[in-house]
């Protein structure tokens, strides 16, 4: 069900399953939270996945580097073995011992290379690789021993070593080193392929994260726009309701007041004293009802955050004079004394005169209501450090300390009020407080039960 205010009359109609603005807002807010949650989850997953990929990439890169270093060492080893083999062949062909020395030196270098390889194993070195290195070290050591024997026999002139067998050992070393080099080359190729694959995966994750985040951000933006729209709809609905309610509530009483006012002023002929008395009573009642309606409407506006100020130049001294003049008749009817203490000069404010009139009027009216006959109401205005103060003190029934915190709440009346059979809606102080705050001012109260109360309203000079 929704109501729309048209130019002529209000109308209400059912709109089936359509959501009301408040429900739409809640529904949209839930969606926004879900979308934001999804963004956070996607971001977390992307972060964790990226970290894992980065970590794997680091490991694979380190392994690749180790494989590369190992391969380089193996190639050095192969070079030394082949050099030793060449010199040995040269020695055997020419019997030049210089070749044998060089072969021995190359083989010794090969042994050192093997020792380095055994010491710096790559992280992915297999047991077979380790066994092969050990076997190679053994063969190299044996080969060096054989070379020493050949050199010694050569010096004595009788070589008894089987050179064919020696050549076979050399071939075996050569083949084993070549095989190990090939294996390492294959491992290096695998590591490089892994690095390339992980690089591609990390790039895909980054792209997917950016894409998903953009989509979800778009969803959040759309939902947020809908929520804003729902908020505006809700505000408009509140405005329409308040304006409709104000019109419908004011109109009948306005008619009654107009008729009673005309009767009272003799437009329909002179009234007898008793008639005039009761017409006056009825007129006062209608005015009181209108005041209550205005108060309720202002409360509705305040609750909706729609109580607006229409600021203009206001002389606070004159305003307080006016309020006191309006209420003087009812105050004096209760035999109360009003002491008005105001400065000679005006206190200029930028304020909403009508609303400030209502707020100060409520404070003075409260002082009247809660002060027993023959009591005193003191009203003071002054300026201190560019802040205007309006103090309203009374010698009334006072307020319990426990009630002081809630008397400015909506419908928050002090316990002493109902006990004293004093009428009131509990809205006057709420509105006065709200109006003071709208003016960037404050209202404070000090009171003691049985010893009266003092309400102080402060208002900044020259501000609204």
């Amino acid at each position: 069900m929704s109501c729309r205010l048209r130019d002529d009359k209000s109308s209400c109609h059912n709109e089936g399953h359509e959501l009301l603005p408040r429900e739409l807002r809640q529904y949209t807010n839930r969606k926004i939270f879900i979308a934001l949650g999804a963004i956070i989850i996607v971001a977390l997953i992307a972060t964790v996945t990226s970290l894992i990929a980065l970590s794997a990439l680091t490991v694979v890169r380190a392994t690749g580097q180790a494989n590369s270093a190992t391969l380089s060492n193996l190639q050095d080893l192969l070079l030394q073995v082949r050099t030793a083999e060449s010199y040995e062949r040269g020695y055997l062909l020419g019997n030049n011992t210089t070749f044998l020395d060089r072969a021995h030196t190359a083989m010794a270098a090969a042994r050192t290379d093997l020792a380095n390889l055994s010491h710096n194993l790559p992280p992915n070195a297999s047991p077979t690789y380790r066994a092969d290195l050990a076997r190679l070290a053994s063969l190299t050591q044996a080969k060096l021993g054989l070379m020493n024997t050949i050199a010694q026999q050569n010096n004595t002139g009788a070589i008894t070593v089987d050179l064919t067998e020696d050549q076979a050992d050399m071939n075996a070393i050569n083949a084993k080193v070549a095989s190990l080099s090939n294996d390492q080359a294959a491992l290096l190729a695998t590591a490089r392929a892994n690095i390339s694959g992980l690089d591609a995966t990390a790039r895909d994750i980054s792209l997917a994260t950016v894409f998903l985040t953009l989509i979800l951000a778009g969803v959040v933006n759309y939902l947020y726009a809908r929520a804003i729209q729902a908020e505006r709809e809700l505000d408009r609905a509140k405005d329409e309701f308040v304006s409709l309610a104000s019109h419908q509530l004011r109109t009948p009483v306005t008619g009654i007041k107009a008729i009673l006012s005309s009767l009272a002023s003799g437009d329909f002929g002179p009234l007898e004293p008793r008639q005039a008395y009761f017409v006056d009573k009825a007129l006062s009642s209608s005015e009181h009802e209108l005041a209550v309606i205005e108060e309720l409407l202002d409360v509705a506006k305040a609750d909706a955050g729609r109580l607006m100020l229409h600021a203009g130049a206001v002389d606070l001294v004159q305003l307080v004079d006016d309020v006191v003049a309006e209420q003087r008749h009812t105050i004096e009817a209760k035999h109360l004394t009003v002491k008005l203490q105001q400065p000679d000069k005006p206190i200029a404010l930028s304020a909403d005169r009508e609303k400030l009139h209502m707020a100060i009027g409520n404070l003075i009216d409260n002082a009247r209501k809660y002060t027993p006959e023959s009591g005193i109401i003191t009203i003071k205005t002054h300026v201190k450090r560019k802040i205007a103060h309006v103090e309203i003190s009374d010698t009334g029934i006072g307020i319990d300390p426990g009630d002081l915190d809630r008397i400015f709440d909506r419908f928050g009346r002090a316990a002493t009020a109902p006990e004293s059979h004093i009428d009131g809606t509990g809205l006057g102080l709420y509105l006065a407080h709200h109006i003071a705050e709208l003016h960037r001012g404050t209202i404070e109260v000090t009171s003691r039960r049985g010893h009266g109360s003092r309400f102080t309203m402060t208002l900044p000079i020259g501000e609204t």
């Binding site: 048209r6 130019d7 002529d8 009359k9 209000s10 405005d239 308040v242 304006s243 104000s246 019109h247 004011r250 109109t251 009483v253 306005t254 008619g255 009654i256 007041k257 107009a258 008729i259 006012s261 005309s262 002023s265 437009d267 209108l290 309606i293 205005e294 607006m308």
Partner: protein
């Protein structure tokens, strides 16, 4: 000489009692119960002041203002909004039609209205 006043108001009681008070105060008065009847009266009665309610059946106050503006009269009347509808939106809407006087009906009595109309007319004449 007091101005001719057209009161456009859909509430019978309010219309009748205000019209009576205005007549007693010496204002020549015509009445209409909605905006459409008000436009007829503008042509027939040539009011100098129109007191205009806003929420009325058949034709509301804003539509009346729109049509009155479209009529392009040689001497258009001064329009005073006299309504219990008092929101910032309606205030802005009426300002768009050049109407700046917005009197909230519930704050008035027939006596106060006639006094203020007379005072306003005399101030203008002076």
């Amino acid at each position: 000489m007091l101005p001719r006043v057209l009161l456009i108001e859909d509430d019978d009681a309010i219309r009748e009692v205000y019209a009576l008070k205005l007549e007693l105060a010496g204002f020549p008065v015509a009445v209409a119960e909605n905006g459409a009847a008000g436009l007829d009266q503008v042509n027939r009665f040539s009011p100098e002041i129109v007191l205009l309610d806003l929420m009325m059946p058949v034709m509301g106050g804003l539509e009346f203002l729109q049509r009155l503006k479209a009529t392009a009269l040689e001497q258009p009347p001064t329009v005073i909004i006299f309504s219990n509808l008092s929101t910032a939106d309606t205030l802005d809407s009426t300002k768009k039609f050049g109407v700046s006087d917005y009197w909230v009906k519930s704050s008035y009595t027939p006596e106060r209205l006639t006094e203020e109309l007379a005072k306003r007319w005399h101030t203008r004449a002076a």
